[in-house]
């Protein structure tokens, strides 16, 4: 039953994508199917989270070949929670896109590709096999390439090229790493790999291969100086897709950094932690500077994704259960808050006709609820208590001070001033400032109320995360402990199977 949940989360989006392809142009049916599939994923993920909270791990061996010769997928508290967050976000984005465009004018492939994307995302969270993770990455990447260029006009499509090129480079390194890991440790299964790496922890091989793999994930996460594929390409996406990308993809990279440093690699990679920590710090700063330098809502927010990623990578570099819990909480918060802001930017574009802050304005008077959504989420992003962003930031800073990384802790605080600054830039430019002649907000535009409604769900979730933080923080603390408990992971995956002489 439990493993059904797990495999259901992988097959459900795959099948729904296939069905949607077959349905061709019958639009209302398509929408119903997409909505049902997305909702079912949320339900499945919710049940999986409850199960993982109870039993710790859910492991499914595909074709029952076992972890040694076959492929396994593994869910633990962290990955199931993140999948739940991702599924919820996907549902919201799908609903948002329904309100945004009429069924008849919607691009028929968008829904299909989003479902394919979810296959890749969910599998990447659950992967228990290095090469399977590579394949999941490819599914996800190709779906994101396709989504990136799907509705791009002749100007936007240029931004697909760097996105593609840098990620293909990253994939090549990943594949190389798979090969090298296999040669060195004779396995691709993460649990067995962890066992074997621990046995040979003295020699320097682990450090080299870990560096290679972590670099690949750092590209995906968007850490400086590997993030350049992101800030210019994201703003060209249509809002619902942008919300999904901004909320999920980079966070996946951070999750994998956690997963591999915490569970797979031996706990003696001090060089790597140091590099990660400082990468986090620099990313935080340069990301927010990038955000401050931009003049459009979506461009500012896209750069902010990076700045926030910096916080998470910083926490990964701290490498303690508490820091991992902080990181997980921060990821969760970001999934909801950041994508809500991006979706909000989409509504600004609908109402004002543009997202350039020089031309936007007048929204606080006309659409106060929209403004409230933005305000709550932006302040949360800047880390104003008692909103969700504050707790994550507080935990990270606390851990930084405890580990005596005073400079990085101070940097984290300084960056949040700049975050506030750039959020104010949007708030003053789009909400408080009077409308600019020629760009007056048009409240008669269709769909924006429904879009706001969809965002309301995200607002409620993130408010809940802030106000009843105890439940979330408690869960994250347990998940952080679990993430660093490699022995339990190995036992859960490898225990009870015929080792076949390995």
């Amino acid at each position: 039953m439990n493993s059904l949940l797990l495999i259901g989360l992988l097959l459900m989006p795959l099948f729904s994508a296939a069905f949607l392809l077959l349905l061709r142009r019958r639009c209302l049916l398509r929408r119903g199917l997409l909505l049902v599939a997305s909702s079912l994923q949320v339900v499945l993920a919710w049940m999986l989270v409850l199960t993982c909270s109870d039993v710790g791990y859910v492991v499914h061996s595909l074709g029952s070949w076992g972890p040694f010769v076959g492929i396994v997928v593994v869910a633990d508290m962290t990955s199931s929670l993140l999948v739940l967050a991702g599924a919820t976000l996907a549902l919201v984005c799908v609903a948002y896109s329904f309100f945004q465009t009429l069924a008849s004018t919607e691009h028929p492939l968008r829904g299909v590709l989003i479902q394919f994307l979810m296959v890749g995302v969910n599998l990447s969270f659950f992967a228990g096999d290095l090469f399977n993770l590579f394949v999941a990455f490819e599914v996800l990447l190709l779906a994101s390439y396709a989504l990136m260029s799907l509705e791009a006009d002749d100007w936007d499509v240029k931004q697909s090229y760097p996105f593609l090129a840098l990620n293909v480079l990253g994939s090549s390194f990943f594949l190389m790493a798979c090969g090298a890991v296999y040669a060195s440790y004779g396995t691709l299964n993460l649990a067995l790999l962890s066992e074997r790496m621990l046995e040979t922890t003295g020699d320097g091989r682990g450090a080299v291969l870990a560096a290679l793999i972590l670099t690949v994930f750092a590209i995906k996460a968007g850490a400086f100086p590997l993030y350049f594929w992101l800030p210019n390409s994201y703003p060209t996406l249509p809002a619902p897709v942008l919300g999904l990308f901004g909320g999920l993809l980079t966070k996946l990279g951070v999750y994998l950094l956690m997963r591999f440093t915490g569970t797979v690699f031996p706990p003696n990679l001090d060089y790597h932690y140091l590099v990660l920590m400082w990468m986090g710090g620099v990313t935080m700063l340069l990301g927010v500077l990038g955000a401050v330098s931009r003049g459009g809502v979506q461009s500012i927010l896209s750069y902010h994704i990076l700045s926030q990623i910096g916080y998470m990578i910083l926490a990964v570099g701290f490498y303690t259960p508490y820091a991992f819990a902080a990181c997980l909480f921060f990821i969760l918060h970001n999934i909801f808050v950041k994508s809500c802001l991006l979706l909000n930017g989409g509504v600004v574009i609908v109402l004002n006709g543009t997202d350039e802050l020089k031309k936007t304005g007048g929204l606080w008077k006309l659409a106060p609820l929209l403004g409230l959504i933005f305000l709550l989420q932006a302040l949360s992003l800047a880390g104003i208590p008692p909103l969700s962003g504050f707790w994550g930031k507080y935990m990270i800073v606390l851990e930084g001070i405890r580990l005596r990384e005073f400079f990085l802790a101070a940097l984290a605080l300084a960056v949040s001033v700049l975050t506030l600054f750039s959020m104010l830039k949007i708030w003053l430019g789009a909400y408080w400032k009077d409308a600019v002649a020629g760009y007056e907000p048009d409240l008669k535009k269709k769909g924006w109320k429904g879009m706001s409604l969809a965002m309301g769900v995200l607002v409620l979730i993130s408010l809940g995360m802030g106000l009843v933080a105890q439940h979330f923080v408690g869960f994250c603390l347990r998940a952080g402990e679990q993430m660093l408990d490699a022995a339990a992971y190995r036992q859960a995956v490898l225990g009870g199977w015929d080792r076949r002489g390995l």
């Binding site: 396709a146 100007w155 499509v157 697909s160 090229y161 593609l164």
Partner: protein, 123 residues
């Protein structure tokens, strides 16, 4: 050990990086194709030396070469082809959209001038 092969793969990776760092679409495309080949071979080499070993078809007695890297490479070849195919289409689209076959020309204009140009050209 497979010294000659590893050195060849390494140099092949170097060549493909050299190509990718250039700005012509064609060279970039060929660079990525070459990189894909190089990485596939790298993974295959990780099965170790094939000397005195059989192909992994269990008709005769072993010892056999390690079949797993072969399976991985097979998957990787197909995926690499998918990516390359997409890339070809992207370059075609970029050419249609921007009228150039060189990535340096892609980013030299601002959005405004880019969008207004075709109209003015008609006049």
């Amino acid at each position: 050990m497979l010294e000659e092969s590893i050195i060849m793969v390494g140099l092949l990776v170097g060549c493909s990086i050299y190509l990718i760092l250039q700005s012509s679409f064609v060279r970039i495309l060929l660079g990525f194709a070459m990189l894909s080949n190089a990485v596939n071979m790298f993974v295959l080499l990780m099965s170790g030396s094939p000397d005195q070993r059989q192909a992994p078809v269990v008709i005769k007695d072993g010892p056999f070469v390690d079949p797993l890297p072969q399976a991985l490479v097979l998957t990787a070849i197909v995926i690499g082809f998918g990516v390359l195919g997409y890339m070809v289409m992207l370059f075609y689209r970029l050419f249609k959209a921007c009228g150039t076959t060189n990535s340096e020309d892609l980013y030299s204009k601002s959005r405004e001038t880019f969008l207004i140009e075709p109209e003015e050209a008609e006049k």
